[in-house]
Amino acid sequence: MAQITVTVNGTTEHHDVEPRTLLVHFLRERLSLTGTHVGCDTSQCGACTVLLDGASVKSCTVLAVQADGASITTIEGIAKDGQYHPLQTAFWEQHGLQCGFCTPGMIMSSIDLLRRNPSPSEAEIRAGLEGNICRCTGYHNIVNAVAAAAEQMRAAATPAHVN
């Protein structure tokens, strides 16, 4: 067993984990944060994307012990004071999801994308979401949602980085 201390969505957590525990399983099974999904389990689909010290990572390809000392943000941690994050609102309003399985990962990747580039072009949005696969939407409305959120966030000067 290894002792880890991580800050997840602003709360500090101390846990004993087996070194082979993947970050996604730690989040889902130990912390019951099941918004982070496992799609492929082979580092391809991005459904498991979370922010690790602000950078998007596939949590099925990170060990929980590698996150010791880090700050993690999951989809559960981005709404503030009962208000959805602008990306959550935009995915809803632009119909950026159908079954919703890919959506948490899409939104976490989009947060990292908008942190690096607050005014992405359509091509830049598509490139920024290359690590996320959607089996339903055909991506069109996802791209629209990210563009709409970017515009809204620029207008409101919302920092993309959530904590």
Binding site: P19, R20, T42, S43, G46, L63, D112, E130, G131
Partner: protein, 289 residues
Amino acid sequence: MYPASFSYSSPTSLDDALALLAEHGEDAKLLAGGHSLLPLMKLRFAQPRYLVDLRRIANLSGIERSAGELKIGAMSTYAALAASDLVRTLVPMLADAAAQIGDPQVRNRGTIGGSLAHADPAADLPTVMLAADAQMAVVGRRGTRVIPAQAFFVGMLTTSLAPDEVLTEIRIPLADAREGSAYDKCRHPASRFALVGVAASIRLAADGTVLHARIAVGGMGPMAVRVAGAEAALKGHAPTAEVRHAAAALVAAAVDPQEDLQGTVAYKRNLAQVYAERALASAVHRAGG
């Protein structure tokens, strides 16, 4: 999918990491970004009993210019390389390649040292290291050695690193004003690895002819290779479209692709031709030609 059980440490000094490698021998593996090793462990293709994580060791990441070379810490991520002004201005082909590896999440985790030590035949950075004539600084319990890129890569997934050594730094000799470099790749549509990747570094004389060229190709055989014939075809000539076309044809003739779902041997040779021409055209353009 869980990896098989293992023990884990994240030492804070290189000496401690080397001691752990010595103590655990064959059972130990270094862990960098984990984006080759962890997928292999989840599939149980690799079952190391001991992981030595390099992430807490100071001075293994960072990019700095000093005395005619660019020094890159082995733990620098692709995202850091792609965002670095030093890399973009001094070794543009490395910035080209880093920005095209995998996807943003992979680039946030994967490291230059891990990629080079892993030496995947379809990886991008080994190809760039050959064209950059990079030197690999490697530390073991017997001391430090510096290995030129051409001697570092020895075969498919095989380098001249000993199992108890750590790659700590990559040193790239700096271009002078009339040198230009570029990397271009055809990405596998699903994995994003290189179906073919070509790196070219071109130095022009005052009269606009090629003083010397280094061209490397990856993804088309067991390991990335320099193509001396193509380099010689450029040397002493003005790098016109015809000359570049002829050099690219020598790249296409030198590769050893296998037929698979992605295409026939002829199709892949054509890819090598096209991407070699593209890399050469941008390298010449960046050299001011």
